[in-house]
C-alpha cells in the first residue's frame, strides 16, 4: 500500500467529537420502574405507559436472536443508560433562541445548521440529540399544508389519537427482541403525518446524534401517509468515538394508505469502531412499511457505511392490491465491521410488485451479508419480484455472503433472484492509470459506478454526499 493510500485509509472519523453538555440521565439498568420513569418524564398519556409495559413484559420472555452472521460479546442490558437528555431542553422550547447554543453548534459542526439563516431552504429537519428531539425546522410552513412533522413526544401531547391509532400496527410490540426493547424504552423520534391528497412540499429529514458514552439510543419513527399523499423522508446518523460499544435499537414504522407514496432514505454513518474493531455502534434496527391501501408504494433506500455491527432489514408488507415495494441498498464494510442486512418483501395483495437491488462492498477484514426474504402468499395472484444482489470484494480477507430466502405459495407469482460477486480488476486500474487517473480516484469511480443504481434513488442533495462518503471510506482499501 502506498503512502498516500495509507493516509487516505486512516482518515479520521470526522464526526467523532463529544459535546460537553449537562445532561439529565437516569441511572443505568432496566426494570419496570425505569419504564414507568421514562413514561413519567415525558408526561405521556396512560395508553403509552400500557404500551411500554406490555412490551417490557414481552421482552423479558424473549431471547436475543442468534441467526445473524455476526459475532459480538454478550450485551449487558443492565449496564445501559436508557434515558439521557440535555438538561436545559427538558422543557418544551418555543423558538430556536431558547436552545442551548452548544447544541446548535454541535449540529452546525455536523453540517446540519438549524438556525433560520443557514438552513437548507427545501429540507425540514428534526434534530435528535441522545434521547430527545432538539428542534424541528419549517414546522409552520408544513402546518400550512396540513403536514404534521414533529418529535414523537410532542405528537403524544398534541395528537395522541393519531399515535394511538398507528403506533405498533406495523411492528407489534412483541415483534422481535430489539423491537420489544425499543417499544419499552424508546425516548424520542420523529412523527410525520401527511393528510389526504397532500404532496409534502419539501424533503423531511431527521438527524440522529448519540453523544453520551453510556447511552443506548432507542428512537421510534412513525410516518403515516393518508390516501393519495406522498412524502420523501431522509435520516442521517453519527456518533462520537468511544472505546465501548453502544447499542442503537430503533424502530421505524411506515403506513401508506390508498394511492399513497412514501420514500424513506437513510445515510447511516454511526461510528464504526477503530481498525481493530474496538468501539463502535451496534445498530440493531427494525424498519417496516405497510402498504395498506391499493396502489400504494413504499421505497427504502439505504447507504450503510458506519456501525460496528449492522442488523437491519427494512421490509415492505404489500397488503393492498397493486402496491409496490422497493429496496435499494448499498452496504459498505471496512476493517472489522460486520453487516447482516437486507430486506423482506411480503406479498399479500394481488398484482403486488417488488424490486430489490442490493450492492455490498466489503474491504479489510469485514463481513458483509445480504439476507433477504421474498414471500408470496397464496392470495398474491400475479405478484412479481425481481432481486439482484451484487457483491464487490476488496482484498482477500473480507467476506461477502448472500442468504436469499424465497417462499412461494402462489402459482401465478413470479420471482427472480440473481447474485454475483466481483472484484476490482487489475486491468481496470491499469486502464485508468494509462489515462493518468490515480489509483484512489479510479477505485472511487469504479465503486460509485458499481453503486449507481442505488445512488440515483437518493434525493439529489444526499446522493452527492453519499457518493463522497463511499469514496472517503474506501479509498486505499485496494493496494
Amino acid at each position: 500500500m502506498s503512502a498516500t493510500v495509507k493516509t487516505l485509509v486512516n482518515q479520521p472519523y470526522k464526526y467523532g467529537f463529544v459535546t460537553d453538555i449537562e445532561t439529565d440521565s437516569i441511572p443505568r439498568g432496566l426494570s419496570e420502574d425505569v419504564v414507568r420513569l421514562i413514561s413519567a418524564k415525558k408526561n405521556e398519556p396512560e395508553f403509552m405507559l400500557e404500551f411500554r409495559l406490555k412490551a417490557y413484559r414481552h421482552w423479558l420472555k424473549m431471547t436475543e436472536p442468534e441467526w445473524a452472521h455476526v459475532n459480538y460479546p454478550a450485551i449487558d442490558y443492565q449496564n445501559i443508560v436508557y434515558y439521557s437528555a440535555p438538561t436545559k431542553e427538558t422543557k418544551k422550547v418555543e423558538s430556536l433562541d431558547d436552545i442551548d447554543p452548544a447544541l446548535l453548534e454541535t449540529f452546525e459542526k455536523l453540517g446540519i445548521p438549524l438556525s433560520e439563516q443557514k438552513r437548507l431552504s427545501n429540507v425540514a429537519v428534526d434534530a435528535i440529540f441522545d434521547s430527545v428531539s432538539i428542534a424541528t425546522t419549517f414546522k409552520k410552513d408544513l402546518a400550512k399544508h396540513g403536514v404534521i412533522f414533529c418529535s414523537i413526544s410532542e405528537a403524544l401531547q398534541d395528537h395522541p389519537e393519531l399515535i394511538q391509532k398507528y403506533l405498533g400496527t406495523v411492528v407489534p410490540t412483541a415483534d422481535n427482541f430489539f423491537a420489544a426493547l425499543n417499544a419499552a424504552v424508546f425516548s424520542d423520534g420523529s412523527f410525520v403525518f401527511i393528510p389526504k391528497g397532500v404532496k409534502c412540499p419539501m424533503e423531511l429529514s431527521t438527524y440522529f446524534r448519540i453523544n453520551n458514552g453510556d447511552t443506548g439510543q432507542f428512537e421510534r419513527t412513525l410516518i403515516v401517509a393518508e390516501e393519495g399523499a406522498s412524502v420523501s423522508y431522509l435520516e442521517g446518523c453519527t456518533a462520537p468515538m468511544f472505546d465501548t460499544n453502544q447499542l442503537h435499537a430503533a424502530v421505524v414504522e411506515l403506513v401508506a394508505l390508498d394511492n399513497a407514496d412514501i420514500k424513506y432514505s437513510t445515510v447511516q454513518n454511526w461510528f464504526a469502531g477503530d481498525e481493530n474493531g474496538k468501539g463502535g455502534i451496534y445498530n440493531f434496527v427494525t424498519k417496516r412499511g405497510l402498504c395498506k391501501g391499493v396502489n400504494s408504494k413504499i421505497s427504502w433506500t439505504q447507504v450503510e457505511t458506519g456501525s460496528a455491527i449492522t442488523w437491519k432489514y427494512p421490509s415492505c408488507v404489500l397488503l393492498g392490491d397493486n402496491s409496490v415495494g422497493e429496496f435499494y441498498s448499498i452496504a459498505l464494510t471496512n476493517n472489522m465491521q460486520q453487516a447482516d442486512t437486507g430486506t423482506k418483501m411480503i406479498h399479500i395483495g394481488k398484482n403486488t410488485r417488488s424490486t430489490i437491488i442490493s450492492k455490498g462492498i466489503s474491504a479489510g477484514k469485514s463481513k458483509n451479508s445480504y439476507r433477504g426474504l421474498v414471500k408470496m402468499n397464496p392470495k398474491a395472484d400475479g405478484a412479481r419480484n425481481y432481486s439482484q444482489c451484487d457483491s464487490m470484494l476488496l482484498g482477500d480477507t473480507a467476506e461477502a455472503n448472500t442468504f436469499p430466502y424465497i417462499q412461494v405459495d402462489n402459482q401465478n407469482a413470479k420471482v427472480e433472484h440473481e447474485a454475483s460477486t466481483a472484484k476490482i480488476g487489475e486491468e481496470q486500474l491499469f486502464y485508468f492509470a494509462q489515462r493518468g487517473i490515480s489509483e484512489e480516484d479510479a477505485i472511487s469511480m469504479l465503486v460509485s459506478g458499481f453503486c449507481k443504481d442505488v445512488l440515483s434513488e437518493l434525493p439529489m442533495e444526499f446522493a452527492a454526499e453519499a457518493d463522497k462518503l463511499l469514496s472517503l471510506k474506501l479509498e486505499g482499501a485496494v493496494g
Partner: protein
C-alpha cells in the same frame, strides 16, 4: 466394548423419543449373528456404532427452530413408533420396476438395508473392482475400510449419526488405482413396508482410487405392486452414502429416489474430492411423502471439478427438501450446479444451496441456479441459494427463479397446432429433460422420462 455400552449411550437419549423406540432394538439386531462382522471389520465397526450412538445422544432432534430444518417438519419421526425392519426377501417381479437392462450383470441389491445375494450379479464387472457388501470384502480390505466408513458421516447431522449407530450392512464399491469401468454399476436399495411402521438404514461407501473411473447408479425404491407411488404403510429409510474421489479419479453418480408413496427418506450424501478429480452427480427425487437429501461436498484439493444436477418432481401432499453444501478449500475449483423442481398438487419443494469459498479458494468458478416450476395453485416452493465468499479473485454467481408455465409459450405451441394438453406437457417434459438428459443410461433415462409424463397427467 459390548452391547451394554451402546445401550448406556442410548439411555441418555430421553429427549429423543424416536431414537428411544427404535435405536435399542436396531443396535441389538445388528450385532446378533449378522453377516457384516468378519475378521477385518468386527472391532472397528463396533466402535463406529458406539460413537454414532454417543453423538446421537448428545444432539437434539431437529425441530423447525433449527435453521437447517426451518421449513421441513420431521416431527412425524418423533411421534411414530417405528420397529426395526426385519431381514426379509422380495418377489423377483417386485424388482422388475427398478431393474435396468444395462446393469443385469453389474447390480447389487439390498432389501431393507441388508444384502440380498440372490438378486445381485456382478459377473460383468472387470477385475480390480469390488462391488458387494462389507462381509464379502477380504479381511485386509475390510480392515482398511476403517479409514473411510463414518469418516465423513461423523461430521454430518443427527440422522447420519443414527445411521452410524445402527449400521447393519454396507454396500461397498471400491475401484483400484487406474481401473476404468464404463459399465454402470447399479446399487439398488429396496424397502419393504410391513403392516406397521418400520425403520431401515441404508448405507453405501464408494471409493475411486487415483486414476480410476466409475459410473454409479444409486437407486431407492419400495417393493409394491406396480408403480412405487402407491400407498402402503409408513416406513422410514435413513440413508448415508459416503464417496471418495481420489486424485485424478472420476465418478459419474446418479441418485434416484423413488421411495414408496408413504415412505419417509432422510438421506445424507457426503463426497470428498481430491486434487484433479471430477465428480458429476445427477439426482432425481420423485418418491416418498417426505424426503430430505443433504449433500455435503468437500473439495480437498486444487483443480477439482464438480457438476451437480438435480430434479425434484413432487405432487399431491409430498414434501421434498434438498440441502446442498459445497465447500471449496483450494484454488482453481469449479462448481456447476443446476437444481430444478416441478411442483404440483399441494406439494412443497425446498431447496437450500450453499457454496462456501474461503480465502485460499482463489480462482474459483462457481455457478448455481435453482429453477422452480409451479403447476398448481396450492403448490409451494421455498428456496435459498446461499453464497459465502472470502476469496476475492473468484467468479461466483447464483440465481433462483420461480414461475409457472408461460402463457406465451403455450400460445406459441398452440398456434403451431398442438392442443393445450400437449403444449403443457411438451413444456414440462422439456423442463425436466435438461436434467434427465445428463443420465447416459438409455433405459434409466427412458424410464424416468415416462415417469415424469405419467405424473403430470391431469
Amino acid at each position: 466394548m459390548s452391547i451394554t455400552a451402546s445401550e448406556q449411550a442410548i439411555a441418555a437419549m430421553d429427549n429423543i423419543t424416536m431414537l428411544d423406540l427404535s435405536l435399542a432394538p436396531l443396535l441389538r439386531l445388528a450385532e446378533e449373528g449378522n453377516p457384516v462382522f468378519n475378521a477385518g471389520s468386527a472391532g472397528w465397526l463396533r466402535e463406529v456404532r458406539i460413537q454414532g450412538a454417543y453423538r446421537v445422544s448428545h444432539r437434539a432432534f431437529p425441530t423447525r427452530k433449527d435453521e437447517d430444518w426451518r421449513v421441513t417438519d420431521v416431527s412425524v419421526l418423533r411421534k411414530t413408533h417405528f420397529r426395526q425392519a426385519a431381514q426379509t426377501s422380495i418377489q423377483s417381479h417386485e424388482l422388475d420396476v427398478f431393474a435396468l437392462e444395462e446393469t443385469a450383470a453389474s447390480r447389487i441389491v439390498f432389501v431393507n438395508g441388508i444384502y440380498a445375494p440372490e438378486f445381485s450379479d456382478t459377473s460383468a464387472l472387470p477385475k480390480g473392482l469390488y462391488v458387494g457388501n462389507l462381509a464379502g470384502l477380504s479381511a485386509e480390505c475390510a480392515a482398511d475400510l476403517v479409514n473411510y466408513l463414518s469418516q465423513q458421516s461423523r461430521n454430518l447431522d443427527v440422522f447420519a449419526s443414527l445411521n452410524d449407530a445402527g449400521v447393519r450392512d454396507v454396500a461397498v464399491i471400491w475401484a483400484d488405482k487406474n481401473v476404468v469401468v464404463d459399465q454402470p454399476i447399479h446399487i439398488l436399495f429396496i424397502g419393504k413396508p410391513e403392516d406397521q411402521p418400520v425403520a431401515m438404514q441404508s448405507r453405501c461407501v464408494a471409493i475411486a482410487e487415483s486414476g480410476s473411473s466409475l459410473n454409479l447408479v444409486e437407486y431407492y425404491g419400495a417393493a409394491t405392486q406396480g408403480c412405487s407411488d402407491h400407498d402402503q404403510q409408513l416406513y422410514f429409510n435413513n440413508t448415508v452414502t459416503e464417496v471418495w474421489v481420489k486424485a485424478n479419479a472420476q465418478i459419474n453418480h446418479v441418485r434416484i429416489q423413488r421411495e414408496g408413496g408413504s415412505g419417509i427418506q432422510i438421506g445424507n450424501t457426503a463426497i470428498a474430492q481430491a486434487q484433479d478429480s471430477r465428480y458429476h452427480l445427477t439426482e432425481v427425487n420423485m418418491g416418498a411423502q417426505l424426503s430430505r437429501h443433504t449433500l455435503t461436498l468437500n473439495q480437498n484439493g486444487a483443480q477439482t471439478e464438480t457438476i451437480l444436477k438435480g430434479l425434484t418432481m413432487v405432487g399431491g401432499e409430498q414434501t421434498s427438501d434438498t440441502h446442498t453444501a459445497v465447500n471449496l478449500q483450494h484454488p482453481h475449483g469449479t462448481v456447476d450446479q443446476l437444481h430444478k423442481c416441478i411442483v404440483d398438487g399441494s406439494a412443497r419443494s425446498i431447496f437450500n444451496g450453499k457454496v462456501d469459498v474461503p480465502q485460499n479458494a482463489q480462482m474459483t468458478n462457481a455457478a448455481q441456479l435453482n429453477r422452480n416450476l409451479l403447476l398448481s395453485p396450492k403448490a409451494r416452493v421455498d428456496t435459498k441459494p446461499e453464497l459465502q465468499i472470502t476469496a476475492d479473485n473468484v467468479k461466483c454467481t447464483h440465481g433462483a427463479t420461480v414461475s409457472q408455465l408461460e402463457d406465451d409459450e403455450i400460445f406459441y405451441l398452440r398456434s403451431r397446432g398442438l392442443n393445450e394438453y400437449d403444449a403443457r406437457h411438451l413444456l414440462i417434459d422439456a423442463f425436466a429433460a435438461e436434467i434427465l438428459n445428463t443420465i447416459a443410461i438409455p433405459s434409466l433415462n427412458t424410464g424416468l422420462v415416462n415417469c415424469v409424463a405419467c405424473r403430470t397427467i391431469d
